[in-house]
């Protein structure tokens, strides 16, 4: 012990073994720091390698062309790389997915937290979370082999590969995510707030929509934004069911190619490494990365700005 420690009390029955504790604590801090470092370093590595290849790509293809060309023809002798083509497909499938997932997810969240009996909730919530864990390749085949043929009964012009079924099924796939996270947010709204609303003569519906949902808004929006980045980054469903045809436009009935589907196509194909087509997947990957990063920043900002602190 150091010289400035307090004089020992001979009658004291309490002698904590702080010396050992201190060493263990130090070791634990180092260990945790190491793990944190590994994950941060990995992320940095990924971003760096992306960045490196992307820079290579833009030596061959001017950024301006990348952003404004209206064709995506990487294998032509005079290739064009207009990211808008892939972006439009990603936008379209994600939009359809959100149109399905946001209402469905929110309504299930409201039902689960406000209307379902505690017993039912106890069963439904884990079931929902299991649903979120179904591999998306299963959803992809579901879209391709069941949803598309089914939709074709009503929409004969629908292609065998199309953005519509891919979007719808992707929506179903991300519904549990929205439902589960929103449910957490809604359930966390303190009961006192509900009591306050009821005591003013409001009905259950008025209380839920007027008081509870606004109080849970930041969590709900965060869940939706998370779902957006999931939809944008979703790969298997669109690669299987939306097609492989780079096409600019927002027609949901025809085959399209999303950014992720393109990356899959090139990665699995026999495009020689080092060729410009090969390098293009890093530029596309970078675009994806930046896009999801922006969504996450928005979500982070939104939660910070609009989270109301209640006790």
């Amino acid at each position: 012990m150091t010289t400035n420690s307090l004089p020992p009390d001979p009658n004291n029955l309490w002698r904590p073994n702080r010396g050992l504790n201190k060493r263990v604590e130090q070791a634990v801090i180092w260990l945790f720091g190491l793990f944190a470092l590994i994950s941060v370093a990995t992320t940095f590595g990924i971003v760096l390698s992306l960045l490196f290849e992307t820079v290579e790509f833009f030596k061959d293809v001017p950024l301006w062309n990348f952003l404004t060309d209206r064709q995506w023809t990487p294998l032509f002798s005079n290739p064009q790389f207009g990211i808008l083509v892939l972006l439009s497909a990603t936008f379209l499938t994600s939009l359809i997915a959100l149109l399905v997932a946001v209402p469905l997810g929110l309504l299930s969240a409201i039902y689960l937290s406000e209307y379902a009996s505690p017993k039912l909730r106890k069963w439904l919530k884990p079931a929902l979370e299991i649903l979120a864990g179904v591999p998306t390749v299963v959803y992809g085949y579901f879209a391709l082999l069941l949803v598309t043929p089914f939709l074709q009964v009503f929409l004969p012009q629908l292609g065998g590969f199309n953005a519509l079924s891919a979007g719808i099924v992707m929506g179903i796939a991300i519904t549990p995510l929205i439902a589960s996270l929103s449910e957490d947010a809604i359930y966390a709204v303190p009961g006192a707030l509900r009591d306050g609303s009821y005591a003013l003569g409001l009905t259950k519906r008025e209380t839920i929509f007027g008081v509870v949902l606004p109080a849970a808004l930041s969590g709900i929006v965060a869940s939706v934004i998370l779902a957006v980045s999931r939809a944008v980054g979703e790969t298997m469903i669109v690669a299987l069911a939306a097609g492989q045809n780079p096409r600019l436009g927002l027609n949901p009935f025809v085959p399209v190619m999303t950014m992720t589907a393109y990356i899959v196509q090139v990665s699995l194909g026999d495009t020689p490494a080092g060729s410009i087509a090969f390098k293009s997947i890093f530029a596309v990957g970078m675009t994806l990365f930046l896009l999801t990063l922006v969504f996450n920043i928005i979500s982070f900002w939104f939660v910070r700005k609009f989270r109301e602190t209640y006790e």
Binding site: G191, A192, L193, A199, G201
Partner: protein, 268 residues
């Protein structure tokens, strides 16, 4: 709610408990309470913790309905109408019998909306700005918030939040206001402001207040009900009404020894 008397008799019972017992699940919490709460008076509920003051209070505007497993036996009546009759809509009951809670619970909305929100839903057709200002003035909060009505209600201090909750309650003009320890989280100055407010409101409203503060009860109330709890054979405590009367009499000349001990601070 039809049997509303026209003549404003000062001693008319606004609320009446008739053999009211409340259970949480199978556990009896309050046993066989009989009392009348009179119009345009302030009635105080006092008694040790756990004797069922909040429980009984909640019977009067059916907020007990919101607690799973809570069950009311006997009759809780509002101007002679059984509040728990089959055809009575609890939403309507709470519209007429408002409540202020122990912990301030402003909505996650602006100060303005905290008041305007329920008024709008309840179909208020007058000038909303005026209603908000008047309610805030009467709750002694206007001067403190008049320049920041668009800020969140949660940005206020605890005492201000509580006055905001009172403001939103009086904004929709209930006939009765139930207050469950409204000052327990407040400093002495806010407490005095709220007491003054209650005195002011008394001429137009019927007020029931639960309080652990004996001075407060004796300062502001016209009638006082003293509750106590006793252990049953099975071990859990059951609350009951010990004595009810004019505040003057309860504090100065109680009939029961337990009341005497409690109000003079010699309890336990």
């Amino acid at each position: 709610m039809t049997s509303q008397s026209v003549s404003p008799v000062a001693t008319e019972a606004a609320l009446r408990a008739k053999n009211v017992s409340v259970y949480y699940g199978s556990a009896l919490a309050v046993r066989d309470v009989n009392l009348d709460i009179f119009k345009h008076e302030i009635t105080a509920f006092i008694g040790p913790s756990g004797c069922g003051k909040s429980t009984l209070l909640r019977c009067f505007n059916r907020t007990n309905d919101l607690i799973p497993g809570a069950r009311v036996e006997g009759k809780a009546m509002f101007h002679g109408t059984d509040l728990y009759a089959k055809d009575i809509d609890p939403v309507y009951v709470r519209r007429r019998i408002g409540m202020v809670f122990q912990k301030p619970n402003p909505f996650t909305k602006s100060i303005y909306e905290n008041i305007a929100f329920a008024a709008r839903i309840n179909g208020y057709k007058g000038d909303m700005d005026e209603l908000v200002e008047n309610s805030l003035r009467r709750a002694a909060l206007w001067d403190e918030v008049k320049d920041k009505l668009r800020q969140s209600g949660l940005s206020l201090s605890g005492g201000q939040q509580q006055r905001l909750c009172i403001a939103r309650t009086i904004a929709i003009e209930p006939e009765v206001i139930l207050m469950d320890e409204p000052c327990s989280a407040l400093d002495p100055i806010s407490t005095l402001q709220i007491e003054e407010l209650m005195k002011e409101l008394e001429s137009r409203y019927t007020i029931v207040i639960v309080t652990h503060n004996m001075q407060q009860a004796s300062r502001i109330s016209d009638k006082t009900a003293f509750f106590n709890a006793e252990a049953t054979e099975s071990g859990n405590k059951v609350g009951y009404l010990v004595e009810y009367g004019d505040t003057e009499q309860i504090f100065n000349d109680p009939r029961e020894q337990a009341t005497q001990d409690y109000v003079s601070g010699r309890f336990g």
